[in-house]
Structures are given as C-alpha cells and as structure tokens.
Subunit: 341 residues, 2 copies
Amino acid sequence: MARQPGADATLLVVGATTRTAGIEGISAAGADPGAMAHTPSADLEVVTYGRPVRAPVVPVSPTGCPTPAVVTRAVRELVGLETVAVDAGLAEPTAAPTVALGEEPGEDVRESVAVPDAAGLVERAHDLGRRLPGPFVVGETVPGGTTTALGVLTALGESATVSSSLSENPLARKRAVVETALAASDLAAGDLAGEPVEAVRRMGDPVLAATLGLLRGADEAGTDVTLAGGTQLAAAAALYRHGGGDVPLELATTSFVADDGSADLWGLARDLDLSVTATDPGFDRRDHPATDAYARGEAKEGVGMGGALALADAAGVPMADVRERTVALADRLLAFDPPTP
Amino acid sequence: MARQPGADATLLVVGATTRTAGIEGISAAGADPGAMAHTPSADLEVVTYGRPVRAPVVPVSPTGCPTPAVVTRAVRELVGLETVAVDAGLAEPTAAPTVALGEEPGEDVRESVAVPDAAGLVERAHDLGRRLPGPFVVGETVPGGTTTALGVLTALGESATVSSSLSENPLARKRAVVETALAASDLAAGDLAGEPVEAVRRMGDPVLAATLGLLRGADEAGTDVTLAGGTQLAAAAALYRHGGGDVPLELATTSFVADDGSADLWGLARDLDLSVTATDPGFDRRDHPATDAYARGEAKEGVGMGGALALADAAGVPMADVRERTVALADRLLAFDPPTP
C-alpha cells in the first residue's frame, strides 16, 4: 500500500462530529462554537459543489481562514479527482452525497465512552474498505479531531503529540482534556496498547473508528490506500498497527504539518512505520488573505488537503495552478452568504 | 432552462424502487425479478465506481444487455463529468454516496397509494433543487418506471404512451396495470389534471416525485436544468406543467427512445413544451454484444444516458470514443463476479 497515490486514486473524505469540539480553545474549525457542528457537513459540500449548499455556515476559522476543503476542491477541479464523502457521524445535515456508516456523533472524550458503537463502525467501514476499488486515499473532517487523536495515541502508549488548526497549538489544554478523559475511563497512558477498538471507543472519535475499518478492509482486499492528513491520520495508523496491521502505509500531508515543531509527525511516522510525503503548496509565494493565513500556520491540513496536493503533484499540475485555483475558490467562498437553514 | 447542457453541468441520478417492478413482464432492468430490487443501487455504484461494490448483482437485462449506467460512466470518465446520486427510496443498500431524500420504496401502483409520502418527498427535493449550484441535469434509475410514468400521464390526461427497456414494448400489459391502478384509486383518466402531487401519490413512483421537486426548486432559484431521459422524464415534466411550471424545459434523450415508434416522445414533447435533444451514440457501427443489444432496441435509455451523451457531445468528445469506452466498461462489468452480500 505504500506507493505514492496516483492521479487515478479516489479520495474518501470521512466526516463526523465529536462533542469534544465544544471544549473551549481546542479547535479553529468554525467561525464560532455554534458553527463548528456544521463544519464537516459544510466541508463535504465545498469538496462536492465548491460552496456550502445546505450547511448554514461558511466554513472558516475565527480569524477568517478558509477551510482546507477549498484546496481539495481546487485539486478536484484541476485533475478531475474522484471524491467520495463518508458520513461516520455528522451532527448536522449535508447536501453532499455520502456513504452513511454510522450517523451518531461522537461524545465528549471526557465522558467514559467517546464512540459508543465503535465496534460496529469499525466493522461497517471494514466492509466498505474491502469492497471499494483502489487505489484510494483517506482524508478527514472532524473538528476537535486532534484532541481525540491525542487521546487515542496516549491510550495506546504512543508519542503523545499532535498538530493543531490553530497557529499556536494549545497542546497543554489538549493534554489536560486527555488526562480528564483517561480518568473518566479509569485508564492510564498505554493501558490500551494492542486494543485499538477499545482505545477509539474510550478516547477517540467516529472518524478514527471509520478510518481504522477502512484500513483493515483495504488490507484484507489487497487495495492500495494512502492516508491524507497529519497527526489525526497518524493516530488512525496507530490504531491499525495496534490491531496487528503490518502492511506498509503512506501518509500524505502538508508541509505545514510536517514543519509543525509543536507536533512530532516524523517521530510518530518512524514509530508507526509510515512513509511520509509532505507537499508544500508554496502559499508563502502568493499574497492573499487565505494563503497568508496558512503561511502563518493556521488550519495546516484537513479534508484530505495533503493527499490532494500529492495527487496534483503526481498528475503534473504545477503548484502555482493549485494556488490560483485555491485563491479563486476562497474568494468565492468568503463572499458567499451562508445558506438559509 | 432550455439551453443545451454544457460540459460543466452536474448530473443528478435519482434512484428508487417501486413494487410495481415486481409485476411480471413490464421491465428488463434486472437479470431476474429478484435482482431487480438491487438494480438502482447497482446502477449508482456503476456510475460512481465503474462496477457494483455492495449491490450483489451485475445490472443486466434478462438477455444480458448491460445497464445504460455503463454509458453514463463512460462519459463521466471521458469528460470528468460530476455526478451526484440521489436516493429517493432505494429498497436495497448501495455503496454509492447519495443524498438521501426519502428512503421509502414506492408501492405497487395497483394499490390505492403508490407513493405514501409524495408531498414530503416533493418538498425535500424542492429544497435540494433550489440550493444546488447549476446547471444540473436529472436522470433516473427505477425499474418499472415507464409503467408508473404511464400511470401519471394517464391520471393527468396526457398522451398515454411510454417507451420500454424491452425491445418489444409490453404497452398493452402496462395499460392493463394502469387501468387496475386507476380503479384502485377510484379514478378515471384525466381526473388528476392540475393535481401533480396527488397524481404521483396515487399513480407514480418516488423518482417522479423527487424530479418534480427538483424542477420546482430549480425554477424558484432560476437554475438551468435539463431532463436526461425519455418518457419517464417527460412524465416528470408533465407533473411540473400541471403544477403551473412554465419555464422552458430541455429533454436530452437517446436516439433509441426518440425512434421508438411504440412511444410518442415527440407528441409528448409538443404537448408539454419540451425541447428535445436526441443523441445517437452510433452503436449500430460497433459490433459487440452490448452495443448490438442497444441497436436491437433493448434498454434504450436510463441512468441519465441521453443526457450524458449530450454532455459528451457538448464537450467535443467523438461518439467513437464513447463507444469504445462503453464497450470496455461493459466487458469489465459482464466479467465481474457479483459482490457477496
């Protein structure tokens, strides 16, 4: 499974919500806390249609940084990338077509159980993953997802650092959340090593459960799969490894995550035997509020952005074209009135 | 709305089942009656992935003629056509991503009510149609759909002829079904003129209800929409006209339907003020079991085939390329072992 994703790959974007995102100060995936529950639904619409359709929000950070879904959409338009949205537990409706796997949002990780039907979700995603034609690439949209990723990594006993959609990573705050979550589950760090389904049930989110299942299904079918994202997808890989999965895995992410000194993507990749491709879209070479925000360290990754950039690269699309299309889509998105409910 | 669909249009494929399809001898949309309930789910998978993924059937007629979904898929691959599957009431699961509108299959039209929640389905499709970016093109997959179309046309008092997926149109059999259906609803021909929602509730199927709603929504939003299909889509246009819809409409169909002497597409189009584009894929110029079956008059249309051909034409793709891609996909489909349940 470790080869570079080809331009003929299908990008699966797995979306869900977790009540963990409601904890103050851990996520920038929405203009305000009320908008955040709609962000994954809106992200899937941006990938599918180029703008929100039913989600009554424009997915931006509190500072106005547009969702990484615009980068994925830009690549989709430039290379005719096929995308499939997977609903692993969206809280709010979306007009994007989805493959529905679960439909129950995740609970706050500070509760004793974070993903009540983790086993069922893993199983249904496994079934989908073994059936889908390959190669495929898996990305995610789940606000609060780096905190649940940290929870899972901690429970498994892996390196407990993750990246952030905020330019200043609130890692201390996330660690405090994870400490509370471990206590609620009566666990210490490393207690769930080798028990990935229990780790995601106690400390994870629905996207992590679904991604674990997709990896197992692809493994069973011998299908090439690439992880498109940063530390959240690395946490999914950790779940796969802790269940005995030994197929080589590729992680395609952005230079923003790879260069994030507050995370330790390279250490995680080494520990988990992941081959990393980090693509730099050169946003520092384009003066625009959207690209400037990324260059400052906001958003960094998400909605398959790193995988989409790798696919654009594999298809021979110059990054300058990706930048121009991204800027055009971001301008259109930021000028768009949110849909009425 | 009457302009030729451009290559930038999104194709919506609205899928559902109706128990009407279980009536012997009215549909060729499945290898056997047991397979027919899976056909729309499989068709949506063929459009999305090029082959069945979860539906445990290979969608072919009893004589082995492959589903028109392969033609739509061929065009999708050739022009990067964006497609969105709409679930208006599938009886069986699909691995295709869908926008779910209803999820209740239609009843047998010989019952007094054929689409119990017709009003709700029209309303939800209306909401989707007014939100979706345009231009869009609407196709269908619903085995038994020409019989329900005949039912609706009869109830509205429009010209009561429809085409068929069988080379010999069992029109007398369909008319007998419609007579029984009218009697079950205590109706005579023309009794529901001007009452489209009641006509589809009594005599239609979920796809007709959803398409009526999509047309109304596009009308409200001023979005360009093209109907991609034959007499079933003409029946949807009849519903729209009987509700007072007066925007010019384009119907993009295949030469197989346009040339079908047993149907009266041109008369319907005149009565309903539809501008017709009939595209000939030249299947008589390609010697292959799949193209030969179409040239003999099997299948004829469905799953947006006529609209897809018009989009290929608008994009400047030679029909010879469409034929070669269709044949390659049909060979792959016919050699494919149906997925295990």
